[in-house]
């Protein structure tokens, strides 16, 4: 099961966080800082899977953006690794090739929307790119007209 999804920039500032298990608000900042430090301090050639406390972290770097996913130890790391790629490809398709911190900061609602189409309750519910984007495109079309 997925515990949380984080998007951070290279400085370690959180750009997006989504939790699927209850974590107190006051504890989130500390957890995020620790998790991000854990991933950022690793070299490029090191493995993308990290054992962290009683769960695991899977992270991937896209230019200046890190995506970190916290998972329980029963979850398959490779599938999550591919899920991150898929998520970024969907974002890439939606924002037509300009996924940057900027796009995420100024369209946070849409990024959350896309993430919610893919992951529900800590489980992967949809991976098809066009199906993920259908509701969002429909809403965009409606608000345009």
């Amino acid at each position: 099961m997925i515990k949380f999804v984080l998007m951070v920039n290279r400085r370690g500032q959180t750009r997006l966080s989504r939790y699927y298990t209850p974590v107190e608000l006051s504890r989130r900042a500390a957890l995020e800082a620790d998790v991000v430090r854990c991933c950022l301090s690793r070299r490029k050639e090191q493995c993308s899977f990290v054992e962290y406390k009683d769960f695991k972290l899977v992270y991937r770097q896209y230019a200046a953006l890190f995506i970190v996913v916290g998972i329980t130890d029963k979850e398959n790391e490779l599938s999550i690794f591919e899920l991150i790629q898929n998520f970024v490809e969907v974002l890439d398709k939606y924002f037509s090739r300009v996924v940057s911190s900027c796009a995420i900061m100024f369209s946070l609602d849409r990024v959350h929307f896309i993430l919610d189409e893919i992951v529900q309750n800590g489980l992967v519910v949809e991976t098809n790119r066009s199906r993920i984007l259908t509701p969002l495109n429909a809403i965009d079309k409606m608000s345009d007209s």
Partner: protein, 353 residues
């Protein structure tokens, strides 16, 4: 957030640029950020501190900022401190103690806590400051490391190439919400329908204070409207009727939005259907034109809400139906065809060959 009124230098956020390498002046970095051939004339100069204007313009916003060259911590003034929202420091990576020269800035930066913090060098150096050292320093002080001329150029084949050098500095400066930011249209309103829902919820109490007559209680509105039917020819009455109907519809829509966006439970569902029936009855007593407008408004809200919830609902429904079916199978004498899984609780066992 908005300091657009008043155009003094104090209001313009500033990017503090400093260099701890005597051979590399701050102006050089500023020139590269501005992308000009020569260093432009500063807009302001006080002793060794110089301000250069810069307008950040991207897809989402425009913002006027100033690039402020400050040679050392001794030139810091409260004015610079107050306007600093980004900090860029250049250091000499060829000597071992390159990073130590930044030490005086650490306490200043910790005080100011700017949103953007960038550590710049020409290229990390095996004999001076190594990549590992620089990166550890950055992690400890929450900086981002940017090499102007990195040894390894980013892979062009990569789908998401990493930008380096000045390009990355400019990118990082773009990905910040400056106090002088002016959003471009279309990127701060969110979803049209969602925001209109939110707006109707926020605006309604205010509009009812402004003109109490336009938001009569629903019962009163109904009576009013019925009595208006006979005298619809008078323009004043028609206008009044319109406003009453509008207010009534707005109230209804507001209630509808509250019902659909709250926690999904059976009670809410029932109330939602009762409300819809009520609104339909009300609409049927309206003249044709108004009925159309009314239907459209209600339709918009429902469509927005359905889009938000139908996928979630279908997903839950499928899971629930299969769960109930499997449990029934198990309890009614075919436990061998179902097995427990972590996805839906139960799962049908595939037929053995």
């Amino acid at each position: 957030m908005s300091t657009a009124e008043g155009n003094t230098d104090m209001d313009v956020p500033c990017v503090l640029v400093t260099s701890c390498d005597g051979r590399f002046p701050e102006e050089e970095l500023i020139r590269e950020i501005l992308g000009t051939k020569t260093v432009p004339e500063p807009i302001r100069q006080e002793n060794t501190v110089a301000w250069y204007p810069w307008t950040i313009n991207n897809k989402y916003y425009t913002a006027d900022v100033s690039l402020c060259a400050v040679p050392s911590t001794f030139q810091m003034s409260s004015e610079i401190a107050q306007s600093t929202q980004a900090f860029i420091a250049y250091f000499d990576s060829t000597t071992k103690d390159g990073l130590e020269k930044l030490q005086p800035w650490i306490s200043v930066v910790e005080d100011l806590a700017p949103e953007v913090l960038i550590l710049v060098c020409e290229r990390v150096c095996e004999n001076g400051v190594t990549r590992h050292e620089a990166q550890q320093w950055c992690l400890a002080h929450a900086f981002e490391l940017v090499e102007l001329n990195p040894l390894e150029q980013p892979d062009e084949e990569d789908d998401f190439p990493e930008s380096t050098g000045v390009k990355r500095i400019v990118q990082a400066l773009n990905a910040n919400v400056w106090s002088s930011v002016e959003m471009k249209d279309g990127h701060n309103q969110g979803f049209g329908l969602m925001s209109s829902l939110v707006a109707s919820r926020h605006n309604n109490p205010r509009s009812s204070q402004d003109s109490p007559s336009s938001s009569l209680p629903v019962e009163g509105a109904l009576v009013n409207e019925e009595s208006n039917h006979t005298e619809v020819h008078s323009p004043a009455a028609a206008a009044q009727e319109q406003s009453v109907v509008d207010a009534m519809t707005d109230l209804d829509i507001q209630e509808l939005a509250n019902l659909t966006s709250g926690d999904v439970d059976v009670d809410n569902f029932e109330r939602l259907f009762t409300k819809l029936k009520e609104m339909k009855d009300k609409a049927s007593s309206l003249p044709h034109e108004q009925r159309k407008v009314h239907a459209e408004k209600v339709g918009n809200v429902l469509r927005a809400e359905l889009f938000m919830s139908h996928r979630w609902f279908v997903h839950k429904l499928k899971a629930y139906v299969s769960f109930v079916f499997c449990r029934w199978l198990k309890r009614s004498g075919w436990p061998s065809v179902v097995k427990k899984t972590r996805w839906t609780g139960y799962h049908l066992v595939k037929k053995a060959k």
